[in-house]
Symmetry: C2
Subunit: 434 residues, 2 copies
């Protein structure tokens, strides 16, 4: 247990992430891409036989391994906590009423955005290597949207209150739930016990839906009652001339955030879904308690480690042969087109009056797969079917590249589409300058 | 690598820490004591053969072991980062000019507060078990003040701007440096190479002094120049009608904090010394960039894990026999008296005009040994002299109890002394209520 080694790791990674961030921001590209690229570079550039990861004593454990070194454990926890806090922040800006308001469109965007990429991914593998389990896992990895990436782009541009943004976030949440259900089914079917029962599939679907709906219902009905009760309590104490005992709202928010993340993870969903729903419970009064700015501060400390960690998991060495490269390009094209067409179509069907620009924003906003695709890939690599992993190592590398590529491709296009639809205010200020 | 297990640990520990904190605060005792007690309880209460630590999958590694489980690694990092951020926050409130203003008194408080406890500790062991190395390590553990504990009491009472507080913080910093020098010497003498050379001792002293003085000099002369240069840069850009590129001050502060902590640790001092000095570099303009409130938010997330970790390391089972208990009581009494007399005397000699109340505050404020004493004890246990640890396991337990006891005894007395000297404002407000 060497604190000096942990401090050096955190220092070097944070400095490099800031440098990557600033360079990309300088060219008008979202800084998170710079942070992911820093992650890829430090894991893959070898100098004198060592990468920077070796120098920093970060040992990425083999897929499925339970053992990790101290530094990797700390980095992994910081990355996971970072994305959990990010999703909580996103939740803080998502009021239940507004989420339910975009419900139909978001639902259609999510469903078509899951079905079309799944079908395309499955068909591609069936036509090329025709391995059923490969096809199922690639299809599942094509499904899940990484709302974290898109959310940060939208937050950086301060456009969280636009209709398109709300639909993207709403759809991404539903999409995450659908993605988890698909993953659970695929994993269940591939499982060594020789197939999943109908009851098992139904159970996974029911658990996911109940969790999300219960959280939304709780935020809509119970939370306002707790708040009203607290108001009465404070008023009563004041009327009696006492100082009302105050609640540390930051501590309460942290506890609810950790609890919901843990709960989501332990019932088989992703922790980030729980974090998002937890944030939503505080959304109505977040400004009052300065929760948004406090969580923004905390998130800014952690989130760079998440993006570095996403990049770090890419091993460029797996992408040597021409066949693999061609396959990777094909998968990337299918992943982008499938999500774009599915989601834009869903938005148009959901709301005929929606503009073409908004459809484009929604379609592109849903493209990034980020960490979710990578998680699916690593589960595939660790699921053993008839003595072999359900996913080949080259297909694993392809999925990771697809997840990273969609994550890198989408944000700049999304930024441009947003800029086109909502010209930045500072241009006006500059022209109107007295 | 199970995020669900990490989340559960963070959730349970944070909730218990908050409960402990609120219960103690309710009775007017600083909440951190509740957090330390929670740590002691969860490590020592056994239900059905398991402690809560086992349930949470936290395995405290054997002293000197390099291997730790994922959950302990994460907890350890959170605790260390917490105390580093706390000391950075303390540094943010310590302006260089003011620190140098209390220089003479603080220096005398520190020196007498080191010499008297060291002599008492050494003499006690020489007269009882007369083992030279035992005596040296106990004496070294009696020396170092845990500025973190006292700083939090002072911060919680919003009395950081008082003269007594400044002297305590200033003296605790010098004291930490002196403590580290003493530790380095003791460790060097006990080292298996059979004694430390005079050159080695001189080197340790020189490194510590140069580091601290260089940081203070940097904060006093270079930092204002950087600030003035930045002001000119921003003004020039504005005059030319451009938007000046802004620096993310939180990111910069984090980088400097991590860098100084790492640097201090790697040259053999404690990370917290570096963090404190880093904070001091930003003190002059901290309010302008809202650094204080941002770091307070971040610190509040981490710091509970530090106090829980301090408590967790106490194994009550080591304290079975009457002889050990008597010895523990004697050591506690000597630790409290030695520090109190040394520091109060130092304050009086340093400034004849100082009030008796302020001398008492300074004497008691320097009593807590906290984590520093525990660190010294664990180093003693891991230093092998002539085939045996330099510290016996019962003496190790005694030192830990002494560190915890001084930490528990001092804050309530300190609170009372402060309340006596500075009656809280809300009493006045309540009486004057219209």
């Amino acid at each position: 247990m060497e604190i000096v080694s942990i401090l050096l790791m955190l220092l070097v990674l944070f400095v490099l992430a800031r440098i990557g961030n600033r360079i990309f921001e300088h060219f008008g590209i979202p800084g998170l891409i710079g942070e992911i690229l820093v992650g890829i570079l430090i894991a893959n550039i070898v100098i004198g036989g060592d990468t920077l990861l070796d120098f920093l004593d970060i040992e990425i454990p083999a897929p499925g391994s339970d053992h990790a070194g101290t530094n990797y454990s700390v980095l992994y926890a910081a990355a996971e906590i970072g994305v959990i806090f990010l999703l909580f922040s996103v939740g803080l800006e998502t009021k239940v009423k507004e989420l339910l308001g975009v419900g139909k469109s978001a639902m259609l965007v999510a469903i078509l955005g899951v079905v079309i990429p799944f079908v395309l991914g499955f068909a591609y593998i069936e036509f090329t290597d025709s391995n059923f389990h490969h096809a199922m896992f690639l299809a599942a990895a094509m499904v899940a949207t990484s709302v974290g990436i898109t959310a940060r782009v939208i937050k950086d541009m301060h456009l969280m209150d636009k209709l398109g943004s709300k639909i993207i976030i709403g759809a991404a949440v539903i999409d995450d739930v659908l993605g988890m259900i698909v993953l659970a089914i695929v994993k269940g079917v591939a499982g060594s016990d020789g197939g999943m029962s109908i009851m098992g599939v139904v159970q996974v679907i029911v658990v996911a839906c109940v969790f999300v709906l219960a959280a939304i219902l709780f935020a809509k009905t119970v939370v306002p009652k707790i708040y009203a009760w607290n108001e009465r309590r404070v008023k009563k104490a004041r009327d009696e001339g006492k100082t009302p005992s105050s609640v540390n709202m930051l501590a309460l928010a942290l506890i609810v955030c950790l609890f919901m993340s843990w709960l989501a993870e332990s019932i088989g969903l992703a922790a980030i879904i729980g974090a998002f729903l937890a944030g939503m419970m505080f959304a109505e009064h977040a400004w009052e308690w300065k929760l948004e700015q406090k969580f923004e501060t905390i998130t800014s400390v952690f989130i760079s480690f998440f993006f570095i960690h996403v990049g770090m998991q890419v091993d460029l060495g797996d992408l040597g042969s021409t066949a693999v490269i061609i396959s990777a390009v094909a998968v990337i094209v299918l992943a982008v087109l499938g999500k774009y067409i599915g989601c834009a179509l869903g938005a148009k069907i959901g709301d005929k009056s929606i503009s073409k620009d908004s459809c484009n924003i929604i379609g592109i906003g849903m493209v990034p797969r980020g960490e979710v695709g990578i998680i699916v890939a690593s589960i595939g690599l660790n699921t053993i079917v008839e003595g072999a992993p359900a996913l080949s190592s080259s297909l694993y590398a392809i999925i990771v590249v697809m997840a990273v590529a969609t994550t890198i491709i989408a944000p700049p296009i999304l930024s441009k589409l947003y800029r086109k639809k909502y010209p930045p205010e500072y241009t006006i200020t500059a022209n109107d300058k007295i």
